[in-house]
Symmetry: C2
Subunit: 216 residues, 2 copies
């Protein structure tokens, strides 16, 4: 039996690959693991049946036999831990890849999401024009450090890993802005990841869900 993940029946990003099932799809494609998808409406996500799988009422979840997981970090780690291709065998290199997974989710993503939240919910507020540059600065502080670390390497720490997968997924959220333009090596890093066949298969699969739903 293949694992089953959940995803939006109608993704609010209109299939641009920003919904978090994309991370899990990409990881599964990288390791060559087939999977099933169960689509959920916004209403279904908040109902008790789904909350037994995901206490915070979100997508994605991951079910495989007796195991039920939520949180993309934990799901991607679980996939990477059980299949070759996303975490190095060497213990030191493996711990380093884990460091980058957590750095993506706990250090780089929060200021990016804080900026997104302001754009979505504070655009008509009197303070928006004063506050946005402060939020931009917090994102740039992370990008500057990350760009300095990456230098002219292809990936963050040796070969492509789950740490890169997660970092790229976080940076991709900035593509609707011009913020990455100031960091040519980060732009190239994102493009390098997007060119991976596994990324493309995952992207096409999530886009197909949106296309089918919106043309129905």
């Amino acid at each position: 039996m293949s694992p089953t993940i959940t995803a939006f029946a109608l993704s609010p990003d209109r299939g641009r690959g920003l919904a978090r099932d994309m991370r899990v799809r990409w990881a599964l494609e990288e390791v060559g693991q087939p999977y099933n998808v169960r689509l959920l409406s916004f209403r279904e996500m908040k109902e008790p049946a789904h909350r037994t799988l995901h206490p915070f009422g979100q997508i994605p979840t991951y079910e495989d036999g007796d195991l039920a997981l939520f949180e993309t970090g934990a799901i991607v780690f679980h996939i990477a831990d059980r299949h070759a291709g996303l975490l190095p065998d060497d213990a030191t290199a493996r711990a380093r890849a884990m460091t980058w997974m957590f750095a993506a989710l706990n250090t780089v993503e929060p200021p990016i999401l804080a900026r997104e939240a302001a754009i979505l919910t504070e655009r008509d507020k009197s303070w928006y024009q004063e506050r946005l540059p402060i939020l931009d600065d917090r994102v740039h502080a992370r990008l500057r450090d990350l760009s300095g670390w990456l230098g002219d390497a292809d990936w963050l720490d040796g070969g492509f890993s789950a740490g890169d997968l997660m970092m790229v997924e976080v940076l991709i959220r900035l593509k609707s802005s011009d913020m990455l333009d100031a960091y040519p090596n980060l732009s190239a890093y994102v493009a390098r990841a997007e060119a991976r066949p596994a990324f493309k298969r995952a992207f096409d699969a999530q886009l197909a869900v949106f296309t089918a739903a919106s043309s129905g």
Copy 2:
């Protein structure tokens, strides 16, 4: 050789245990692993020597022989992965504990830190009084779901794990507010964790650093 962690020479929280070395100290105490501490000034944290260990110029870091890590999630996972006491042996239970580690750092912590950032940096802004309730609501949404999940259990998923350690460390940040009061089971959960001998040893050790530095 014992591992070496870094911590603030003079913690901005005045030894209340909110600096992130506390997470690592607690994990090391839970597994009974001795450790060394190297103290850093704010200036030293941002210098190139430290940035080779921590690209974002923060504490804590973790060095053990050839291995150098940053990100508390990755450090606590590394400790839990190598020593008994913080992750169950059973593969399913272990994956669940990882889910709660990521949930603490990527789902529950961000709205708590966003609220803290506003209190620290926007208190004198014209919009503060209008914006703070919105930030409070985002925290309460997470606490409500977490409280509903925990119910009357002692820990989030079976026995105490690295997932609980990380979740408690995130919730403790709310103790300077009254936000946890609305969730008696979460308040009891935090108190249960703080009563653990390993927590107390870690707390006392970080407080001793501040006390010594500030009386010097």
